[in-house]
Symmetry: C2
Subunit: 351 residues, 2 copies
């Protein structure tokens, strides 16, 4: 990927030339984008609606490994992960600013690949790439994306507004992105030890796609609107279900009970986890990067949601004093702890 | 600075702990900040006004050198540089998102210093720190800031709207920030070669402050409003006067004549440039980082602006075919070229 025979050095274009080259094909799709790339700032007009703004930074060697994450996928994922934050407020992403710092290890063609992924995500989610910054870095690739979205003020859904007895729901299925990462890391390790062995990624399509090309909650938000449900609180699942439930409950000053058997897992993921010697529930609780939406709804909305495709009711909100709990398949009550990504890896290594 | 005996490791707080620690003292100042730090995105309400959004990325070893840029100053500068982009649209900055990636070389106390500078800038410019992202980096410090501002749609001033015969104006004085950088680099070089020699920074207060603690165009925008002048085009001077004039003219499809003798230089800067063996005009044209505002106004506004403190009329817009020119003190007409920062450094080294 970086050994393109037609390699063009970044320095041959210069900063302004590079920005122009990467952004010249952009067509503005949203009426709210008054001015996109090309001035001191983007100009956006949402009229009576609120503006939502969220930033994420992705650093090579920390958040991604280019040995097994193609640049186009990285661009797509960086964008959708940001859109996910806007959907998690019950809003609609409309603009994206992209700041990139790349070392001279990267060619113009490499950044074109990265941008093609970002622009594909923008196309799929009807978002305008409206600005950003491009510079050099002493080593590696750093991305910082800012998603801008709009929402009717009264429809914005926060993290800290879950109420006692509300039902806890989650979209899609959980754990697959983490299992995909384990497969990629395993094959990469084998390849590093013996470069003649080609990576064996066959049959892992679902978990690999969940890791490399996650989608944001556009359809979930549409479904909720169609069902006429406004969640009472919402967050996206970026760090694993346990961490996000703890955020919701802590910020809402509440407790919860969720049921292990209700946590949605794809059958393929479940089997792959077992093959890798992992507990599927732990992957769902602590794996992260699923970018599903976790939200609470009023009990009165249960009839509306129970048949909705791709949404699972996994528990309910309780009094704060009851704690943040999971009822296991065997009926035991366990207190959930925010192990997050790092802690989970540590535990894995320790066992 | 990094050898604090009371050093607290970043890892001791974890990502969420660190964000909480750095942001818990923030008080929201603007009514438009509906939700700041602590949810999936910031929620902002500008009612009938437009939203302006601008991002900048700063990478250690490329944009700053911590050997002579204290972390508090770095934070202040990173914020004001972003606000400058909002003023350059004739808007008012209201919110700031701060994403930081830091290696374990940095302590919690170091990030506190950085944040204290960012928060001081927010206080001075009445901006709310409303979100961002914190993560680790394999090496060095990377900052990505996003400023959000508001403007009445009809009052937004773009780069591409200069008209023939408009007067070209610039605020403050130019070149000092670059001269300050030369002093810092000279003293740092001496220190690296002989650590026993203490840096001699005395008497260079003005140029050092211009380099280390630049201010954004808040007062200029106020002055223009008071004088009832809406510029016909505007840009901030981040890469040097020549580069920015070329942006304005090229994007407006026009030419210009500026007069060397009219370019505002502080007397101290002028003398310091001479002492360093540099041409003061070249510092102003190509030095960059002054963060003054370059703008054009209608000739009809000349009477209003001619007595305005801190604003200089330096030339006028011409037909595109006349080219982008500077009339030197000796009366010669020179075509301006966008040498920018890198090219200028190269030329300096070459002479």
């Amino acid at each position: 990927m970086l050994e393109n025979p037609n390699r063009t050095e970044l320095s041959s274009l210069g900063e302004f030339g590079l920005i122009k080259h990467l952004t010249e094909k952009i067509k503005i799709q949203n009426a709210s984008t008054i001015k996109g790339v090309g001035d001191d700032s983007a100009v956006i007009e949402f009229k009576e609606n609120c503006t939502l703004v969220s930033s994420d930074m992705l650093v090579e060697g920390v958040h991604f490994n280019l040995a097994y994450c193609p640049l186009k996928h990285l661009g797509y994922k960086a964008a959708t992960v940001n859109f996910s934050d806007i959907y998690a407020m019950n809003g609609t992403p409309r603009q994206l600013l992209v700041s990139i710092a790349a070392s001279n290890r990267f060619s113009v063609e490499a950044l074109e690949e990265l941008y093609s992924g970002i622009l594909l995500a923008c196309e799929n989610y009807e978002v305008d790439l409206a600005g950003g910054d491009t510079s050099t870095s002493p080593s590696g690739l750093i991305l910082s994306l800012t998603a801008i979205g709009e929402a009717v003020k009264e429809e914005v859904v926060y993290r800290n507004t879950a109420r006692e007895n509300d039902l806890i729901c989650v979209s899609g299925d959980l754990g697959a992105a983490y299992i995909g990462l384990q497969i990629l890391e395993r094959e990469n390790k084998i390849f590093m030890e013996n470069p003649k062995i080609q990576p064996d990624l066959e049959g892992h399509d679902y978990v690999l796609e969940r890791q490399l090309k996650p989608e944001a909650g556009k359809e979930v938000i549409k479904t909720l609107k169609k069902l006429n449900i406004k969640p009472t609180s919402m967050i996206d699942v970026s760090d694993g279900l346990a961490s996000e439930i703890i955020h919701l409950c802590t910020q809402s000053d509440k407790g919860c009970s969720i049921y292990e058997e209700k946590i949605p897992m794809d059958a393929v993921s479940f089997n792959e986890a077992r093959e890798l010697g992992m507990d599927a529930t732990i992957c769902a609780l602590n794996g992260g990067e699923d970018y599903e939406l976790l939200f609470t709804i009023s009990q009165m909305d249960y009839e509306k949601i129970k048949e909705a495709k791709g949404i699972s009711v996994i528990g309910h909100i309780t009094n704060k004093n009851a704690g943040i709990n999971m009822i296991s398949k065997s009926g035991a009550q366990l207190t959930l702890t925010a192990q997050g990504w790092d802690a989970f890896l540590k535990r894995k290594e320790g066992t």
